[in-house]
Assembly symmetry: D3
Homo-oligomer: 250 residues x 6
Amino acid sequence: MLLALSTWAEIEAYLKTSQTVVVPIGSNEQHGPTGLLGTDWLCPEIIAHEAHKRADKVLVAPTFNIGMAQHHLAFPGTIFLRPSTFIAAIGDWVRSLGAHGFKRIYFLNGHGGNVASIEAAFSEIYADYSFRKERAPFALKLKNWWDLAGVNALANSQFPTGHGSHATPSEIAVTQWAYPQTIKTAAYEPRIAPTGPIREALDFRARYADGRMGSDPAQATPEKGGALVDLAAKSLIEDLEAFSAEATPG
Amino acid sequence: MLLALSTWAEIEAYLKTSQTVVVPIGSNEQHGPTGLLGTDWLCPEIIAHEAHKRADKVLVAPTFNIGMAQHHLAFPGTIFLRPSTFIAAIGDWVRSLGAHGFKRIYFLNGHGGNVASIEAAFSEIYADYSFRKERAPFALKLKNWWDLAGVNALANSQFPTGHGSHATPSEIAVTQWAYPQTIKTAAYEPRIAPTGPIREALDFRARYADGRMGSDPAQATPEKGGALVDLAAKSLIEDLEAFSAEATPG
Amino acid sequence: MLLALSTWAEIEAYLKTSQTVVVPIGSNEQHGPTGLLGTDWLCPEIIAHEAHKRADKVLVAPTFNIGMAQHHLAFPGTIFLRPSTFIAAIGDWVRSLGAHGFKRIYFLNGHGGNVASIEAAFSEIYADYSFRKERAPFALKLKNWWDLAGVNALANSQFPTGHGSHATPSEIAVTQWAYPQTIKTAAYEPRIAPTGPIREALDFRARYADGRMGSDPAQATPEKGGALVDLAAKSLIEDLEAFSAEATPG
Amino acid sequence: MLLALSTWAEIEAYLKTSQTVVVPIGSNEQHGPTGLLGTDWLCPEIIAHEAHKRADKVLVAPTFNIGMAQHHLAFPGTIFLRPSTFIAAIGDWVRSLGAHGFKRIYFLNGHGGNVASIEAAFSEIYADYSFRKERAPFALKLKNWWDLAGVNALANSQFPTGHGSHATPSEIAVTQWAYPQTIKTAAYEPRIAPTGPIREALDFRARYADGRMGSDPAQATPEKGGALVDLAAKSLIEDLEAFSAEATPG
Amino acid sequence: MLLALSTWAEIEAYLKTSQTVVVPIGSNEQHGPTGLLGTDWLCPEIIAHEAHKRADKVLVAPTFNIGMAQHHLAFPGTIFLRPSTFIAAIGDWVRSLGAHGFKRIYFLNGHGGNVASIEAAFSEIYADYSFRKERAPFALKLKNWWDLAGVNALANSQFPTGHGSHATPSEIAVTQWAYPQTIKTAAYEPRIAPTGPIREALDFRARYADGRMGSDPAQATPEKGGALVDLAAKSLIEDLEAFSAEATPG
Amino acid sequence: MLLALSTWAEIEAYLKTSQTVVVPIGSNEQHGPTGLLGTDWLCPEIIAHEAHKRADKVLVAPTFNIGMAQHHLAFPGTIFLRPSTFIAAIGDWVRSLGAHGFKRIYFLNGHGGNVASIEAAFSEIYADYSFRKERAPFALKLKNWWDLAGVNALANSQFPTGHGSHATPSEIAVTQWAYPQTIKTAAYEPRIAPTGPIREALDFRARYADGRMGSDPAQATPEKGGALVDLAAKSLIEDLEAFSAEATPG
């Protein structure tokens, strides 16, 4: 089910059979000369919606589309939440879902830069319970879509060189598959972008002139993207089943 | 342009010709027995995307899909940000867009319950400048989609009775037009829902048993929704032109 | 009763008979060339104290005299709280009063610019209960003094043109009635001030040179103010009775 | 001048001759069986207004009437701000006044329990400048009214025993002088209240059954209050002159 | 016991016999030309550890080594927490210790500038309970090491002139006794430093050129420091016993 | 140099030759039946102080001894900061050091659970600059001590099985080397602790009965700890040199 396209009564009924929900979470940030600004929130949304098409018991929340992308701000179009804001917002999503009785909230993440803040948010939420010596009534789980079973391996086989870590051919391929009308091309120079540390926004733009890190997005194709989505959706369904089978928290 | 489906270089180019951007903003909350949980963020998204289709100079940011819906939390599926979180998040969106040079940020709103927090957010953002005796480099504008020129009048003519204020036939009609596969029906009892004050969530559910306030959503049709979207998109384009023609702030 | 001029034991006794309290809330901000900086907190204080004189069961808390007036800061003497601070402070007032057993807390407001933040504050307070699936032990109500029964109609009849929205003749008349020794005069130019949007402080001062918006305060007289206070106090007593008669929350 | 009864233009003119302002600040909290709940904000207001009557160059801001009184909350009528809220609110008052060009902001305090939070607020405000290696454009000063030159000595001579530290005869005498119609009596038992540590609210009420700490308020008279106000107002004027004569900050 | 050098099981066992813990708390800030930057956190640590050596029932938590030293920031090496951060951090320490069952948390303080923020922190923590009408499960106590029984008198007899209030010979003597290898000398000019008000950092450096306030640290010797530590440790043990003997809170 | 045992003048002189500083950062939390509660802050302190002994140009700040250990709170003695508090505190440390002219701030971390919050803190700090389109005047670096060159490899060779991820033999060996008088023994059951996910505190204690995760601390010896410290200190000096050689930020 897609939560946003359901009624409250349908969710009330769903909760009687399952207390698990997937939240696609990403970022809206530059992805090099050809990657879409929405890449990092579109990828988990695409994969989660694909999983939903295959398994209706998969309940997908609206997409959390703005994340922690401070270091990309010197490239136009990037929008980000400071970690403190991001943590507060994740907390309110979780408290809302928890109030309805969801016991397993699974964040399918599309942006490496989100990981620290999401994990911090989980700890911030749990701390309220720990300080009161109570058990949280829900379990929170973070999974990057590329860490779903088999996905990294597939991406490595598709892109043995030039995968890199930002504006990667795998994530761009996923959006190409889902939004073929938006495929863009560019003359990448150098073909494989440089790598290095991540600091703040102006430092980032000075180091990575076109926004890529270590990647050669020219290798992306819609077909490769389709294969990644296919595998990721399948693995997501399995991972959700395993998560749902865990002992009930709280 | 849709910002999320553009590259940073495309936004950089856009900024040379216009510094105006539309942010659809809404809420994910119960909308009665037949309204979609996403109604309030889908409506401004639908209208803004329709405006974009008709006028490519209209730049639409990703949709801010979770708003202030505390009073709906007793109905499953509602997700909301506390005002303090909402204000912080709007601030980060605005500061991000402002850093790129956007000078006019237009929030097209789909949820009455958001108005107070959005206006408070604007004041919070401006206050930083006022305390420093500086002029903000951007102008912020809030417009509810039903307040776009002519739209309320059309809705009143379509639904002379039973429009109400929550889970209204007009907003449901808009989503029916855009998502016809999700049209739901129910036996409304009473046909026109009661009205009264809005307090906290459990009080709200006790007063408004099925979630509606003053409305008779059975009157909604996709055709009426299409007429509303058509007019709203046209009015939005005009309103953006007028906003863009204002003297440059900052 | 005036809470500040009572003892704790008197309030303890009062609470056995009524759990309703009125909080006059306003703002300290410029009111044009002749309006007092305190106008917006003096008006609700004047009206609430007048109601108290007529009906001793009306319990009036100290006046919350600083509100959200960011847009007036470019005029000397304005003091304001950012929305985030204002929301936190209203929360602490409410939690304090709630801890004593007050079940109906009625904010009599004197400043339009406060409305968004006060409503946001109510939602922020309620959210703590909603997230815990509890019912708040109090009902919160906001009423602008000009929205008390009959008051707007009287003001419109007193000032059919040039009432405007800031530094209005009605609010200035109220303070003239209560503080006749502070009546000031000026040559207003233009007689009726311009109108337009409200943005941040320097923009506001640039648009509204002497601080007025749409108003002609020269029409104010202490007599008109007295009539407004008389009606408002009467309506306030009735509105408080209706509020107190609502079903007990919590 | 009383700021709230002035116009913005009058404050603009005042700032050309002086950049000093007094803010009466106190608390609304229980003051034993006969003390007014408003005692701690009424006392500095009474003294500052008396100073203003004698020296028109003394500019008095509206009274900051709610302070830090957590430990009194178990007595009805107490309203308080948490230190974090109080600090934020003092910051906004100071930033507002500072934006107008006030260079010396003098808080005349009426509540010992406020001291820690006010001092913390000053440091919080200054820290913004220190972290930026800038000098604050204003100097902040806190003075308890009983620490004005000679006042403690007078109180000690008026009340050689049973002055105590809360609901003291001196503060009650000051309000008796200003609000003679509110004088209350009670049979104090014991005549001089006990003393001890201050912890949280329920602990406080358990230790101090009628709210007094170490005091015998029966000794208060309006005449003694008048003498205290007379001396305090005189000392305040002198202290403000000394403060205004300090080298200009910033 | 030293908490940091114990295991959780040892603390679990300790809690069965005592629920009292000492937290040395100080500041890392300039202490004149010869005082160590760590002086203010080293002193309470030295004294608490000495008490622990003499009485194993004294449980000493890790040292809270960064406090509120905004006014010292213009001298290199100073590190401080803003009051708001400091309050939040003290809250988390207390909530952590309270969750384990500690009922008496004793902060042994080494920095006068910390007092306001620590007291504000206590009130902030208690407020959560007061607003809920609950009694806090712990009592919080603040004691400056120089206020331990007899210590100020000893310091005054050791340093009848030139003790001053910052970079005092007594605190420097304490660190000389504990860290003799770090003793530094300088030609103090003037021998006794000036005194005056404390404002923000640049103002402070302008007033107090070498960082001292009213002190003549040349009088410090390790022997005098040893005498101070000896007395302070003894008094601390007694004060902890008295605190532990108080009626159980909560 | 050890910052806390230096004077401000010594730090002022140091800053003329180097703008790099090391901050040992860890956590105070349970470490199984034999590990010290302070293990995670003692390890980086031990290593940084050892590096300082070998290379005086290494400037070591006071140890940041309380980190993010929410999940360990069900074991007595654990003290932690919520991520929001931790982020604020790291920000104040960095802003303090940055105000003195430190351009490279290197956090040597001893607790895996800190990583998310520290990275979030860096982004939070940088965001202030990014939103203002400024370059931060400092570079921030996080390094876990076990990630220093060669250290993980050495630990793996010392403990080929049963190293685990919490209460590891390597970290316990380091504290055994530095604090041999605190070595504790226990009968571990099972010898190698279980592994699994990390959620909140009560869940953690239920999964990991004695606090260990995947480890067999019985293998720790002071000698192995000494070898780890020796290598880590050497690698730290080299890593600091490389960091200091980076182009100057800001």
